[in-house]
Symmetry: C2
């Protein structure tokens, strides 16, 4: 079993890295790119014996406590069977 | 229209950052985490007037040339209507 965790800056937080990528792409002849926001992405492999019932709660806790900074970031957990 | 681009290290490339996250999680009482691989994630907003026909090819080119290093990374483009 696998899980994907996507961590992105909250909409209200300025993302200078993404803004720079967008500006660079515009300068490289891609005016159709209006905005870019960059985030992190974790592919987590779960041991085969792990309890199916508790894994969603565990992953949520891991994403909130370790993988993201809840003050400025939000996360999304997706379990891939 | 939006697009998501996911950039991850190729399976054959060592990911020390992901390995460190996995080891840290194991040490924090999460033995069910077998492995972690970390990647990047771009949320791209496309200008409303952009040509629908060429946008897929454009995004593919942007992902290959700018957002990823094709020697060690692979990417996936997902267009969100």
């Amino acid at each position: 079993m696998k899980a994907h965790v996507y961590v992105t800056l909250k909409k209200t937080v300025l993302d200078p890295q993404g803004a720079t990528v967008a500006r660079a792409l515009n300068g490289m002849g891609h005016p159709e790119i209006a905005a870019v926001r960059q985030g992190k992405f974790f592919e987590i492999e779960i041991a085969p014996g792990a309890s199916q019932a508790s894994i969603a709660a565990t992953l949520d806790q891991i994403a909130a406590d370790v993988l993201s900074n809840p003050v400025i970031e939000e996360y999304r957990v997706e379990i891939v069977p």
